[in-house]
Symmetry: C2
Subunit: 378 residues, 2 copies
């Protein structure tokens, strides 16, 4: 279990010497940029604010309390995880790790759950600060970094304006929302301004995991199943399906969503979802009749990434069922081993055209990276 | 959405003329028996008892209330589903349908949620009655039917005894448990006698879906996502992983579990589950250190069936990751189209040896059907 409490403390530790990986994968072959599309970072101000509210989580957000390890006694000799200081480095150290893994560019996301657990005022301030800091890093390394804006669903009107500022003024490439906000999902009516802004800007929203919402976390609290081992996929898949059945993609044809972890399991179930939608399911409280089968909506409006799931069987199924235009490479740095992620993909013997789409062309299209980075391929 | 309320009423309708399918798939080729391993039936007494408690479900079991359609207004002209009377026929009519689909044998399961919503006394009586009725049908058609015992986890000691009676005296082939019982899972301490009895008898337990438990059904109530379209897989996958992380398979090496719907998504995630178990997840409250990676425990102790998921991409992934010994054919009659299920599998061009394992050899081994039915292959 990834214990993020040490992470929070670690976010405050500046200048800690980093265990960098110096030898690694070969650089991308000429013409094949490897772009990793779900790569985490944090800023000390968000880390500090998160640390402050941790004690509240046990009652308010039991799933997140388990992720951060505040729901159980802690042994004094717990070593800080190796990725602790990597998270707060959006400069030279991170780039050295990217070089070691053969990754040309990272699409950066404020580490989950971002600003979504704070009261609205603090969330507004911290999201602006994180986005400004991210834009600074990208200005400094424009051929190595892109990034998504942190926006606070707690204040939907502000979130829509901040998304516009981030895309139009700061040059960011979309938004990240770490699934539920206080147990609420983006298909609910108050969040429509956020979806409308994303569609109007043609900016994708990355729905990134966090622990399952309080309404469904119960059975995952035992055995510490709340995080990447299972709960994250439960949470984001529910969120994605709620959006589909809500009919919002018929209302906003330009809305585009990205989800990680090989589509959080949805590709495996596309046939069953269609069969039972046709038989009348997915149409209860809150639904609109859909113009197309759910699998078509998924293919038309979602792109998935391979974060934490760079594994042949799941990747081949996803390429087969979604098509090579709908899957993007991601390493989930620094939580997963980026070098292993690249090695495993490289070893699969994919067709060159598929590999180019997976490693960079899809990301260039979805996040509109081409204009800025294409001429500067590593 | 499959509305089971009409089913309950329909369970009371005897002798209703049935829309049987007369033309269908070719019979099994010589030597290739098609055994369908997750096939539903019901008896009028259970249907009546279920109908009686439906009004309580809205507060007690909101997920099941949604499955049965008692949580929302009903239109008067709702046609009864076509499978209504098929469920209560465990004789000639069912066999005609099996012939139409080219299915030699059905493994019968009391329709979900079986006896698990009743108070213990009624659950005890109805489980015995259902098992006796099932054994009668099998005695009448020994080369066409096998079946699993309904047992009530509400009374674990009785459930263990009833499993022994069903296997030793009635000749049944294992047990079915429809996932949670009142929000509780089989890894919890009170249910150990059931798991011990199953291991001692070497009788598999089929963990069949029902709506997600009250602790996690919240986000699935909107849009009617509680059933086969998504909620069933959420519920059973959580149950299966809880059992794995509890360490019970190290304690009971002969315990065998069957889960349907292509492993409820678990095969797609085997690599990620192992990675994060190795990193420390799956070890919280209630866990025991495991002797093997979770994926090995899954391969050693679980067999999956294709019910409702007879679809090439998911089947190929499951065969590749679990091996051809671990996947059994199921049609999920009468809820799914058994003829289409057979046609789709037949069209995949699987190796003859793989096809034989999928269609009958694995079922013969797991449910110990060989002694009784092998010489009488249709």
């Amino acid at each position: 279990m990834i214990n993020r409490r040490t992470l929070i403390r670690g976010g405050l530790v500046a200048g800690l010497a980093s265990q960098r990986i110096l030898a690694g994968n070969a650089p991308s072959p000429p013409g094949l940029r490897r772009i990793a599309t779900e790569e985490g970072f944090n800023i000390p101000e968000v880390a500090r604010a998160t640390a402050r509210i941790l004690p509240e989580l046990v009652s308010r957000e039991p799933g997140e309390a388990a992720v951060f390890g505040v729901d159980r006694p802690r042994s004094g000799d717990e070593a800080p995880p190796p990725w602790l200081h990597q998270l707060s480095d959006i400069g030279a150290g991170r780039i050295a790790d990217m070089d070691g893994a053969g990754i040309a560019m990272q699409v950066l996301l404020l580490s989950s759950p971002g600003v979504q657990m704070f009261e609205a005022g603090e969330a507004r301030e911290l999201s602006q600060l994180a986005n400004d800091r991210l834009a600074d890093a990208i200005r400094k390394y424009p051929d190595r970094f892109a990034g998504l804006a942190a926006i606070p669903p707690q204040d939907p009107a502000f979130a829509a304006r901040e998304l516009e500022r981030a895309v139009s003024k700061l040059g960011l490439n979309g938004a990240i929302i770490n699934s539920h906000t206080g147990g609420h999902y983006l298909d609910e009516a108050p969040y429509l301004p956020i979806l409308e802004a994303a569609a109007a800007l043609e900016a994708p929203i990355y729905i990134h995991p966090r622990a399952p919402s309080p309404q469904m976390v119960g059975p995952y609290l035992d055995y510490q199943m709340v995080g990447a081992i299972w709960g994250y996929a439960v949470e984001v898949s529910a969120h994605a399906l709620r959006l589909i059945f809500s009919g919002v993609f018929d209302r906003l044809p330009k809305l585009r969503i990205v989800i990680g972890h090989m589509g959080e399991g949805i590709p495996f179930f596309l046939d069953r979802i269609d069969t039972h939608y046709a038989a009348g399911a997915g149409r209860g409280r809150g639904s609109k009749p859909l113009s197309r089968p759910p699998s078509e909506i998924f293919r038309d409006h979602f792109t998935i990434t391979t974060s934490g799931m760079n594994w042949g069987p799941a990747l081949r199924l996803s390429l087969e069922t979604l098509g090579p235009e709908r899957v993007m490479f991601a390493a989930d740095y620094p939580f997963e081993n980026a070098r292993a992620a690249v090695s495993r993909i490289d070893a699969l013997g994919l067709e060159p055209d598929t590999l180019a789409k997976l490693y960079h062309r899809n990301a260039e299209r979805v996040f509109r990276l081409t204009a800025r980075g294409a001429g500067q391929a590593k």
